[in-house]
Amino acid sequence: MTTTAKEPAPNVGKPMPGPPIGLLAELTHRCPLQCPYCSNPLQLKSVRNELTTDEWLRVLDEAADLGVLQIHLSGGEPASRRDLEPIVEKCANRGLYSNLITSGIGLPRERLEKLAAAGIDHVQLSMQDADSANCDRIAGYEGAHKRKLELARNVRALGLPLTLNAPVHRHNLDNLEALIALAVELGAARIEIANVQYYAWALANRAALMPTRDQVRRCLGVVQAARERLKGVLAIDFVAPDYYAKRPKPCMGGWGRGIIVVTPAGKVLPCHAAETLPGMSFENIRTHALGDIWRNSPAFNSYRGTAWMPEPCQSCELKEKDWGGCRCQALAMTGDAKATDPACDRSPFHARMVELADTESATEPPPFRYRR
């Protein structure tokens, strides 16, 4: 059952959103890997709550009608779903750019060929480290590195574009040069070097993952030099580490501004960690139309635009650039989801965040807390 989208309410201080550009489809929480910085919630949804194939196909139709341009097929491991092929095919039929975000496990050559035939546009492969033993240790899966290399070579052999996704932290930052060289060797056109963001499992493992200030400084130098050296060969996207930052990131490009997240069980969220925010309820695609949720959901409207912002954001000239940063991080560090993201040095909590990073990174790392 789907309720019809209501006429948009008259504007009462909330900006009417433009159409969303991207939808993150968390097809499943199942994953063979158990990376200690996984963005899935600590309470994983079991397979019996997952949306059916028909439900996902309907979500994609509604997304295309709403003006979504890109679908990020993620999880967990999206290949854990046997219906990935019809899902990709639907994206292609509706002109939706499909981006497969995979661990590389569960995608043998034959299956990849089927996905290529179904019209997948781009493959994003996670790479935990260039060093195989360390990669397997971080992923909590023996043989992961070897299978990732196989997948990368198959992706390129089929002529599909490849991005390596490298989440970086204290256990692999010193191998950054090797990670970049691996991306070039595998024929990736792009590498995303993303300092781990501390939500969900990463927050639970923060003391184990926090890099030192020196590691971060060296990493910035490596990235800058590689960008220059590999111009036109490898595009390097870089996600800065919040705890050593001066300004917050525009989380999700701003709350309810461009991105929709659909969880394996069909909940529709403005950001994948939004369920950690108390007192907020989220509509489900099983009972509401996507467009209705996008326009009218109280959760999407709660931090949309700038009217909700307290100081120091409200009078800040950057408020429409970073949109106040991340609500989940604000809550986790300050106890108030409305507060300025403490990654910003104008936040009264910023000094505490920096001190936490310095202290944790100077301490012997505790063992990883894995998903299983």
Partner: protein
């Protein structure tokens, strides 16, 4: 295997839009977009015309000639405009030769 090198766009290059980039007219927003991984680029009208001619058959000289005819402008002037644009797209990896 030799190290892959940066593409240098010349008059003789035969550019084509990279496999990861999709040039689409978006009905919702009523404009041309270049969809690339995790980004949406909004090319100018001129860039759209150039990209539409990047078909993997024509070289840069032929693309310029086609535009020169359409705009009744000298080919050299067009070349001076489109070479930096194509080089910049190649440096980002969105156009290949």
């Amino acid at each position: 295997m030799s190290e892959p090198a940066r593409t240098q766009m010349t008059r003789d290059s035969v550019p084509i839009i990279a496999r990861h980039a999709k040039l689409r007219f978006d009905e919702t927003r009523q404009r041309w977009l270049l969809l690339v991984p995790e980004k949406i680029l909004t090319p100018s009208d001129t860039a759209v015309e150039i990209l539409q001619l990047c078909d993997g058959d024509r070289n840069v000289r032929a693309i310029a000639a086609s535009l020169a005819k359409a705009y009744a402008a000298p080919v050299d002037e067009i070349l001076a405009d489109i070479l930096p644009l194509l080089q910049s797209l190649a440096d980002k990896g969105h156009v290949v030769t």
